[in-house]
Symmetry: D2
Subunit: 340 residues, 4 copies
């Protein structure tokens, strides 16, 4: 940690801060500069505790932390890439993995139809919501356990493992009965009791970035899960809120190589929710793989005009086939195989 003093701080104030640092059990290193003095701190084994004691002392302008606040998720802690295995599916290895399916499980027939279609086109995991967080209380909120049962049936029928969103600690045991991987949605990225509970569940987790979360916030949220002994976490970039209203969210693909550099966890991208428009899904799916993402999660619906949720961003199966062909070409250019 570095304590930056104000320009007008005199020797007495500087010495008082040094004395306080010593009283905290650390070693101060005053460094006079052209306009102000900075004081380095050494001797700490982790983040400097009670730093507020320093922040509020006379003459102190700013504290600058050097130690990053997360640990288990960082590449400094664990240098190699972590592989997350979900049945036969692997995230974080050489292969590009595609998760696809409807936004919401609406009916048995709808889900099976879409599951077969995406399986045939090359997806290796099925997505589908049984519990849906919706901005409006009057929107459709999912079929609940009935939806989970349909997903399990689709798994039997297609052999694909199933991922679905879990919204609270109360329904977590029920979701675990049916799902192979648990999704934490963007609105719950900082729901800490839920993060802890999915950590303890031992199930693989897909953690979506909150739409106002920095990359650091996302890594700290993942740290909650790893801190419970569960390292099977896949991160997901899905768009952030910005001033630009052209699209629903701004897909932050620069986060993909940054996360790869800061962390050992796999990263995938959700091009459907980022834009909210089906015609943006293909270019953004290609760009995500070119940026280095380990996979995609994509919404598909055979009759999107009648979808109960997010129909405007769902691909019809034919477009999904086209997307898979284009993504495969980009994966080849990246010297990565498609998972199969």
């Amino acid at each position: 940690m570095l304590v930056v003093m104000e320009a007008h701080a005199d020797a007495a104030k500087i010495e008082a801060v040094c004395a306080e640092i010593r009283a905290m059990g650390y070693v101060p290193h005053p460094m006079p500069g052209p306009t102000r003095t900075a004081i380095g701190i050494t001797g700490n084994r982790g983040p400097v505790e009670q730093a507020t004691r320093l922040q509020r002392m006379p003459g102190v302008a700013q504290l600058i932390r050097v130690t990053s606040p997360y640990k288990l998720v960082s590449r400094e802690f664990h240098e190699g890439d972590t592989l997350v295995q979900v049945g036969p599916v692997v995230f974080g290895g050489p292969a590009v993995t595609i998760i696809a399916g409807p936004c919401t499980v609406e009916t048995r027939e709808q889900t099976l139809t879409i599951a077969h279609a995406v399986r045939e086109a090359g997806a290796t995991m099925l997505r589908g919501g049984a519990f849906k967080p919706r901005t409006s209380p009057y929107a459709f909120h999912g079929l609940g356990e009935e939806g989970l049962r349909i997903l399990a049936e689709a798994r039997e029928a297609t052999g694909m493992p199933v991922i679905t969103e879990v919204m609270d600690v109360e329904t977590l045991p029920m979701v675990c009965e049916y799902a192979d991987m648990l999704q934490i949605g963007a609105r719950n990225m900082q729901n800490y009791p839920l993060l802890r509970a999915v950590g303890r569940s031992g199930y693989p987790v897909l953690l979506k970035r909150g739409f106002a979360a920095t990359v650091k916030d996302l890594l700290l949220a993942a740290e909650y899960v790893l801190n419970e002994g569960n390292a099977d976490v896949v991160l997901c970039e899905r768009g952030i809120r910005t001033f630009d209203d052209t699209l629903r969210f701004t897909l932050d693909l620069g986060a993909v190589p940054m996360i790869k550099q800061l962390s050992h966890l796999p990263v995938i991208v959700d091009p459907s929710h980022a834009s909210g428009r089906w015609d943006q899904v293909l270019p953004m799916a290609r760009a995500a793989i070119a940026a280095g993402a380990d996979g995609l999660i994509v919404e598909v619906h055979h009759n999107p005009a009648f979808a109960l949720c997010d129909g405007q961003q769902s691909l019809v199966p034919d477009r999904f086939v086209a997307m898979m062909e284009q993504v495969a070409r980009i994966a080849t250019a990246m010297e990565r195989p498609m998972a199969s």
Copy 2:
């Protein structure tokens, strides 16, 4: 709802959209413009359902919704100001109400000391966290039930009702045993199971705006609570995330008169979390009241340098006294009394 057609959409495409609108049971009103045609829809009793059917038709450029998505919270539904009563304290009436207390309950002595200090300075409700959502899993997360007991004791000692944050459905019954008002924190503003549960609890709720939530999102979150039959909701502006890194968040005081115009619910402001700096609390507290806020929620600590949480934004009691004097002067200028 208005369907905007593309500039090149021909008569056949326009007629097809009109036919679909009729098939949905509504009435289309085509309006040719200089570059494109727009089609108005009437005959709907609520938001147009299955609008995606229209959005994906050939030649359709955009759908524009006219009906606002919230209802119970809107001033159109309920014209007069709602008063929220918590014991002797009223939000939304002429008086300006100040909630104050420590960020976190640390010890019995700390909480009682601060409670007496803020009471004496004119606060009428006590705040204090027993369960703390923290960005890092390694930070202090609160005393839990022990903290709630201390808050209850502080209520006995000072006569002030107590507000504290509830973080999940599981601990809600325990929090309700001790608290007079429930706080939903910014990170949980879109935790819908929790919103529903506090709605059903019947307790008064302080709903803090998420730091990436629009005013509309905040009103929709409140709609979840009101939809459970609980209209005792106070809204709280506490800063949003923007590109500017000068302060921790950007306090959006323009939201205060906007919410007052759109909704009948009381609005207060949290100047402590918005900036993360104690020296910003006084000017922003004054500005909030001048903008029309019904009150404030402020962090106070008698020894902030040693606070376990957010010490850098806590006022010492003397500064809080100064704040109360300044706020009282602004309230007088607004022709509002201070609650007592």
Copy 3:
């Protein structure tokens, strides 16, 4: 400056960086920490030059600057408040100064009517645009020199000094012939040739914050003007772009006390452009003064429904009178007189 090394950087890499710092003529101070080493630099008289030499060395994670990049505008350089005088009007002293007038000079009659109205209500400076930057090339762009002449006539008629926007170096001499104070608009805040030219002109300058500018960016833009020997600069907060689309911009009132702390220059607020709605002007005008602003710049139009520009945010004279009364009450609460 502080050089933060990567966690895995070994002694050889650390020594190489220290050697490079010595070769640059500075003194390195290595400080080993729990996870990584940081190296402080002293001996520099200004910002460390060629810091990129260090940034690209093996094992270097990050450079952290301690010295702030602006100088002449900083309170550390000049502790007392700067007073900016424009004829009889003073910015930055105890009095609250109100600039008012039409968005655009449309006709002689319109400008004189509004000038007399705002003068009578207590404004002490007249605003009005003769050259208007407009997002669309098809919008009205102002009367040019004819507009300047009308402004000068309004000055004669009312005794108020006149402020108007200057858009480029080419028209600066013409604007200087008529105006008493030059306005740099938000879109030109980083138009450096223009900043330099108004600096050299010696005229007092009102510098509006760009809607994507941080407080630091604004201070650096002002530094361009001061660096030409012109310290008569008034800063103006007018709203920034954020994800929230409730209003046109988000007024960042927290910037007011921050600027007062970092700089000696006066600060005023533009509540008209921030929101784009006349019904937001009153509450935001009050809040700005309560936050500590030295004044306001407000748009007034006697017939806003027919205004050629920004009619939706202009106050009618009666509302402006009401605003002045309310602002005066807040100023009294702040123990500041209104300028007269």
Copy 4:
């Protein structure tokens, strides 16, 4: 245009608005809805003028514009792709075009060295700044005309056309003497006198998106140039400002397909300025081409540690060669040739 009435607006208010619309020479179409009435307007040949007359009438809640504010740049006005030719280089055709060179022209030797290196690696146009807009007045601002002369010499030596930034109307004639294409920087995207002047110059223009500009703002800025009779405009996405401080800017690749859909103009991407880090340039260059960009503009320096400007984001020639190889593989996957 659609006029949305307030929920409580009665028949008299609705009729008054209809009467006003008729008085303006247009035709009103009232459409009663479940909670409020909306009134469509037809009969206008362009954007409805003096809409403020309606906005300020009693009972009016909101005006919604249907007609897009730009025209010449829109695909509705001109359906086919525009090709912009600069000497032998074409933007907007099948080939992917790479512009490369130093951030700033520092010396003759530096520029020639880099020019030869990027030429050999496959770049077809040379970039280099002679006039540099810098946030700080104390930073290096370029060599001016001497820099332009060096660029012209590099053109002779390599055969590549030259692009350089023009900062103001005053130096435009000098820049035109030496340059083949004019760059408008992000900070000048809304410098309207400059946009008009480069429009009149007849030179091809590279218009960089302002870091707080929406896609619509960018298209309107281009409209200024086209409106002067100059359609040789290439648009450039270079990152926007968001709350995330992980990187300097957030590259908005979703803008690429959106611009392609809304406009006929070519679009390229600047991966160097977006992130401010050289190690982000390769992944973002690949992603940009995969998203459908027509080319890239990239900073290269043979000795970036000693670069006078932006060294931390410049690629060394070897990394640029690697980038070209990777980009070529992505271009192949997109079935596009690299320009040569």
